[in-house]
């Protein structure tokens, strides 16, 4: 069970959250010029590291806001992003 630090509400039990996968996956700037291969990568390919992964979580049972945190996928150690509460951290 993870203790997840919501940047707005503080540390809460994992069951209050929804996992959103890898962070910083941006929608292509110019969709019309994207090749099939690049579309495939945008839609279906995500990093899957054994180590630290930057990922999106939403505090569904709390403030319902999305934020980014970095978590070690082996140890579950969580590193809170300093800028997680800034608008810029929200992926388009």
């Amino acid at each position: 069970m993870l203790l997840i630090p919501c940047p707005w509400c503080g540390p809460r039990n994992e069951i209050e959250f929804h996992y959103g996968g890898q962070a910083d996956v941006s929608y292509p700037e110019d969709p019309d010029s994207v090749s099939d291969v690049d579309w495939a990568h945008f839609l279906f390919y995500r990093d899957n590291p054994k180590g630290v992964l930057a990922e999106r979580w939403s505090h569904q049972a709390g403030c319902r806001r999305w934020f980014t945190l970095r978590r070690n996928t082996v140890t579950n150690e969580i590193h809170v992003d300093d800028d997680a509460s800034e608008a810029g951290a929200v992926t388009r």
Partner: protein, 410 residues
Amino acid sequence: MTPRTPGAELPEHPDWLWHSPEPKKSYDVVIVGGGGHGLATAYYLAVNHGITNVAVLEGGWLAGGNMARNTTIIRSNYLWDESAGLYEHSLKLWEGLEEALDYPLLFSQRGVLNLAHSLQEVRDSVRRVEANKLNGVDAEWLDPAQVAEICPILNTSEDLRYPVMGATWQPRAGIAKHDHVAWGFARELDRMGVDLVQNCQVTGFERVGDRVVGVTTTRGAIRAGKVALAAAGQTSVLADELGLRLPIQSHPLQALVSELLEPVHPTVVMSNAVHVYVSQAHKGELVLGAGIDSYNSYGQRGAFHTIEREMTAAVELFPMFSRAHVLRTWAGVVDVTPDASAIMGLTPFDGLYVNCGWGTGGFKATPGVGWCYAHTIAHDEPHPLNAPFGLDRFTTGALVDEHGAAGVAH
């Protein structure tokens, strides 16, 4: 039911079924991963293609990965033609495997019920039954009374929050003892001269241009005419060494067993909506599983709330389970794809083959995977049964979308 001693039909524990050779400097084929898939692939390379200068390299101990952790459910009642083709081929091989390996696998065709709890699920299930029949897969739609006849301990009353509105029934489905499956393959492989090398972690690859010509391991470099990945949840880590990105995500999947009980549970029951699946092992443990934990993890452990939800569903469906004690819980690392189907075939590198993405459901495919993957490796071309499962489907869009359709929710 006649009383019996639990475990009486289990064979003696084997002492030495295979040797533990030093790895040679080079092989025709090196298989990375000594789980069921790696072993079955080596077996069919030898039996179907006469290729025996092969090593199976296992980082830990033989078949100690997901092969030792799964809930052993075998079935072929998948919706899409591509999946039905592959899993039904596998089920047919299961039906002759005990004889082929001359080893007791405790393959028990006790049938599987996939429950439906909503009108939409009823419709989807009936559709799947008809699709199964068209593909030559045994399948029936049962109403709640018929379900209760097959599995009397199941709560089929109407006062559940999600009552059982019926179920699909595949009589030829069942379970097998996973350790014995691995040991049976390993014994045959050893006899045929295939090297099963344990404690040999593959750390990287040797390349000449775009051709993979060997692997680096914790026991030195090993040359290989061909390298075949069968490393289940660890495949991304290996592929990263080549800069090869794969559309898989690794998650923990948990299972648990109860103490030993007298035979109470005659079949396999799966419920997608409330999400639990249950069978009773030969020795008597109730074996239960559910969905993956949501986040990526290589930690081989999941969270307790996942188990709690699974138990809530189990106790509602099987009220008598409330008296059973949980003995052990554990997790494996499974590799999940965007369309819930496996990836098996060629890669952008010559001499490198990929088999991964079986997620929560690859045990049932073990002999089928071995058969098709061996063909792919021997001929440098996928077998017609695994051709639809190539990496290119994520670019062409020809997905084999088995979410829900397969009766799995992850």
